[in-house]
């Protein structure tokens, strides 16, 4: 899975050399930024259910037609699945914060998502609204430190852009 360390190791291995000073510096830089990432991951994990709930509520509030007959949220089962999917996105963002790269979102969230949503006739704008709400609702220092919030929002933006 793509992260700073694995990228560095892959490059060193392709050249057949030991990890160089440059490689070690790159990992060092990654480690220095890690504290903020891990803080964001922890705070997100702690509030995961609540964040998911609020994001889903926001999306159905903005698009109430989704609960009408024949739409993506017409039955309770479908609504539950919407909340579940949002939970998945937030869980993958939690993983991205831990890894320090977009690997988990790319591999498990974004790859094939467009095709799946088209086939199932799901509106991506609803996901965008939910994640945008989460992004704009999160604030510092109430939720997490400024640097951690920055990391968290950058992955939310990454997910939003992939769905837009």
């Amino acid at each position: 899975m793509k992260s700073v360390v694995t990228t560095v190791v892959t490059a060193a291995d392709a050249a057949g050399r030991f990890p160089s000073q440059n490689d070690l510096e790159a990992v060092q830089g990654n480690i220095q930024r890690a504290a903020a990432r891990l803080e964001a991951a922890e705070k997100l994990a702690n509030g995961w259910e609540k964040v998911t709930r609020e994001a889903g509520d926001a999306c159905f509030k903005k698009y109430p037609y989704l609960k009408q007959q024949g739409e993506a949220g017409s039955t309770q089962t479908k609504v539950d699945k919407c909340y579940r999917d949002l939970g998945h996105y937030l869980r993958l963002i939690n993983y991205c914060l831990v890894v320090g790269g977009t690997g988990p979102l790319d591999e498990w969230g974004i790859a094939g998502a467009r095709e799946v949503y088209r086939t199932l006739n799901l509106p991506t704008s609803a996901y965008v609204e939910a994640l945008t709400y989460t992004r704009d609702r999160a604030c510092s220092p109430r939720d997490m430190s400024p640097q951690a919030l920055n990391e968290f929002k950058s992955y939310l933006d990454y997910a939003i852009n992939s769905l837009s």
């Binding site: 899975m1 992260s3 291995d13 504290a35």
Partner: protein, 186 residues
């Protein structure tokens, strides 16, 4: 290939759960000990050729048949192959130590190594012995417990001169990667 962080992600994904405080504690430890780890990798890479040539020399000293006609380190071409393989193994161990996870070592070095050596007629016991000598000298370099040995006039002896501290966890981790190679060859 995984590192300490992505290993946690893979196991959390299997449980369909977010990564909470429990798992993060080990990762915070990786971060806190980060500089030690980088120094340990540096200790291995900076002394790589010394570690490898020492190990191969030691292996041959214990079994001089290797460099006699018909031995597996005779002629020079095969001796060179032996030194090269020692360096390759040490290189993958340095990657594993940097990543904090043995997957790169397993996938890219050990997978099929034993079968290859058997097919080529390389004595596995000698290879494992060279790895165990590399283990001894690498861990000594990381821990800075290396000595000039029996010769007091040895001038090539070197210490890394990093800040002293408790590196026992890292030494144990590095040792486990060498043991992994040894057991893959057994």
């Amino acid at each position: 290939m995984l590192d300490a962080f992505s290993r946690t992600v893979i196991s959390a994904d299997a449980k369909n759960a977010a990564i909470g405080s429990g798992e993060l504690a080990t990762l915070r430890n990786y971060v806190a000990e980060g500089n030690k780890r980088l120094d340990a990798v540096n200790a291995i890479t900076s002394n790589a050729s010394c570690i490898v040539s020492d190990a191969v020399t030691g292996m041959i000293c214990e079994n001089t048949g290797l460099i006699q006609a018909g031995g597996n380190c005779y002629p020079n071409r095969r001796m060179a192959a032996c030194l090269r393989d020692g360096e390759i193994v040490l290189r993958y161990i340095s990657y594993a130590l940097l990543a904090g996870d043995p997957s790169v070592l397993d996938d890219r070095c050990l997978n099929g190594l034993k079968e290859t050596y058997i097919a080529l007629g390389v004595p596995l016991q000698s290879a494992a012995r060279a790895v165990s000598i590399m283990k001894a000298s690498s861990t000594a370099h990381i821990n800075e417990t290396n000595t000039s040995g029996t010769n007091p006039d040895e001038t090539r002896f070197r210490k890394m001169e990093t800040v002293q501290g408790d590196c026992s966890a890292l030494v144990a981790e590095a040792a486990s990667y060498f043991d992994r190679v040894a057991s893959a060859l057994a």
